[in-house]
């Protein structure tokens, strides 16, 4: 694997870890109209899209076409 591919999979692994928001597990506060746990995961999905965009630019298997 190239260094770019390692970096891409490192980013994906980091995102996987951040899915586990144990510090908000028992928190039911409402922030900006949404429960804080729900708001966190909505934000998480937006960041996921950004990270996947970076991953695609870094390590797309261009040799397949």
């Amino acid at each position: 694997m190239s260094s770019k591919q390692w970096l891409a999979f490192g980013l994906l692994a980091a995102m996987y870890v951040f899915h586990n928001d144990w510090w908000l597990w028992g928190d039911s506060r409402i922030v900006a109209g949404l429960p804080i746990g729900l708001g966190y995961h909505v934000l998480y999905m937006i960041v996921s899209a950004l990270v996947l965009t970076i991953v695609v630019r870094l390590a797309w298997p261009t040799h397949l076409d």
């Binding site: 597990w25 109209g33 996947l52 991953v55």
Partner: protein, 487 residues
């Protein structure tokens, strides 16, 4: 009015199937794979539409009704990362290999990878068996939706029947090109209608903030995960989205792409698409506890439709009914087409029955097989009272546990047919065992430990794949080179 809107929608869907049929070339590759010509936008919409089912709309709202907002983190949030990662790793490679060697089905792909007819036949049986509960939730959702939007005037058995007949019609007419076009149309329909309906309902309830404040007073436990989710269950549930790598209907869409680059948009846009579709039903499911308290078990499957019927009857209820039907049919069609294709290619043709049949007879045999599967599914829908969320989770557990097959085929040169067979048999035995153990338990985990069955089965099937391969003779280098180039 409500029924009129749904009827017009059904006619539109069949119309798109007919129009795409006019553009259909007469080859089998066009019927089954749209001549591998699907571009980035239609590929995204057809993959996403196929992936989002009654599970995403009725299943998620029904589960959120019982378990609260944590459902959003449990399934869509991690799916938004894992599914596009699976696409990134597997889809362009599967497409390139499929195009180079002319594969049309998943079974053919894996059978040829390891040169084993037995593996092909076993995989065919297992994949069909695992697709049935997935089909079942769609048929159940059609029945529930039509029943609720008409305030019980139309019994559930009619809704399920309508869905089966309409899907069978346009798949028969349009093949995969028709299915891809209809999926694109239907995906736009259910994404837009989902956003509109949640906005209207929450406005009529006083706004999202007001509703959440009321829930915080009456049932605050629904706004946090403590008490609703076991942390180990949460962690192991993140393996469920690996199922996207082994769905036969998704694999079929992978093979239909125009080029490998077509998958880029899908990988990048998938998390946002999932968030847009899942957020409205989860919010409505939690809000439903205010208006419809006390629903038990599978009764909450209908909470989304109940909320719409209460707060936005008439036109909007009809549109939402069409939206749910869109989500259901955009998955059922691909599942049905992939089953028919596998039966025609991997059973009728592969075992020589096709030599004695005309092309028309071969396609007819695939349709008869699909009709039989749909009839079986419809029969099961009349007696099943299980949670849509639960049924889907069991189906996904089986597909996710087969994931080592896909990785072994495309990345591990030393993998052998013995390893692949051991992997599939391990899944068959353990999935059956845990399914029987978990029957009737909404939050079943292995021995009550919080560990989802998928973690145990996937671990065991991975070990079976590795040990079985290492204990058997290495595969022929020429065969391996066709799937994993040396460079």
């Amino acid at each position: 009015m409500t029924l009129g809107i749904i009827a017009v929608y059904m006619a539109l869907v069949i119309g798109i199937g007919v129009v795409s049929n006019r553009l259909l070339s007469s080859t089998g590759e066009d019927y089954f794979l749209a001549t591998r010509s699907i571009g980035p936008v239609v590929l995204l919409m057809s993959l996403f539409g196929t992936n989002m089912t009654a599970f995403a709309l009725l299943g998620s709202s029904g589960e959120a009704y019982h378990a609260g907002i944590g459902v959003f983190g449990l399934m869509p949030a991690i799916s938004g990362l894992v599914i596009p990662t699976v696409f990134f790793v597997l889809a362009p490679r599967a497409w390139a290999i499929g195009k180079r060697h002319g594969y049309t089905t998943q079974v053919e792909f894996f059978r040829d990878r390891w040169g084993s007819d037995l593996l092909g036949l076993l995989l065919f049986i297992v994949l069909v068996a695992l697709v049935i509960p997935y089909l079942l939730i769609g048929v159940m959702a059609g029945g529930v939706t039509l029943n609720q939007v008409t305030f019980g005037q139309i019994p559930e058995w009619i809704g399920g029947l309508v869905i089966c007949v309409v899907v069978m019609s346009y798949v028969t007419i349009g093949g995969l090109r028709g299915t891809a076009w209809v999926n694109t149309f239907q995906t736009i329909v259910f994404m837009v209608l989902g956003a509109i309906t949640v906005t209207v309902v929450f406005n009529r309830m006083g706004g999202v903030g007001t509703v959440m404040a009321r829930i915080a007073e009456e049932t605050p436990s629904l706004l946090a995960r403590e008490g609703n989710f076991n942390y180990v269950r949460w962690l192991t549930y993140s393996l469920i989205p690996l199922s996207a790598g082994m769905f036969p209907h998704m694999f079929m869409h992978w093979l239909s792409a125009k080029r490998a680059d077509s998958f880029r948009l899908t990988v990048q846009a998938y998390p946002l698409c999932i968030a847009l579709v899942w957020l409205p039903p989860v919010l409505l499911g939690v809000a439903g506890t205010l208006d419809f308290p006390g629903l038990v078990g599978g009764q909450s499957n209908s909470i989304l439709v109940r909320m719409i019927s209460l707060h936005a009857p008439g036109v909007l209820a009809g549109l939402l009914g069409a939206g749910v039907f869109a989500a259901v049919m955009s998955s059922l069609d691909s599942q049905v087409l992939s089953l028919g294709t596998m039966f025609t290619e991997d059973i009728v043709d592969h075992y020589g029955y096709g030599d004695r049949m005309t092309d028309k007879q071969k396609i007819a045999s695939g349709r008869i097989f699909v009709a039989a599967i749909l009839l079986l599914t419809y029969g099961l829908s009349l007696v099943s009272e299980r949670s849509i969320f639960n049924l889907a989770t069991w189906s996904f557990t089986g597909f996710a546990s087969l994931f080592p097959i896909a990785i072994g085929a495309m990345f591990w040169r030393r993998s052998t047919k013995v390893g692949a067979l051991a992997c599939v048999m391990t899944v068959v035995v353990l999935w059956t065992y845990f399914f029987v153990q978990g029957w009737g338990d909404r939050a079943y985990t292995v021995g009550g430990t919080g560990v989802m069955a998928v973690a145990v089965i996937l671990g065991a099937s991975s070990i079976a794949m590795i040990v079985g391969s290492l204990l058997s003779a290495p595969p022929e280098p020429e065969r391996v080179a066709r799937f994993i180039p040396q460079s």
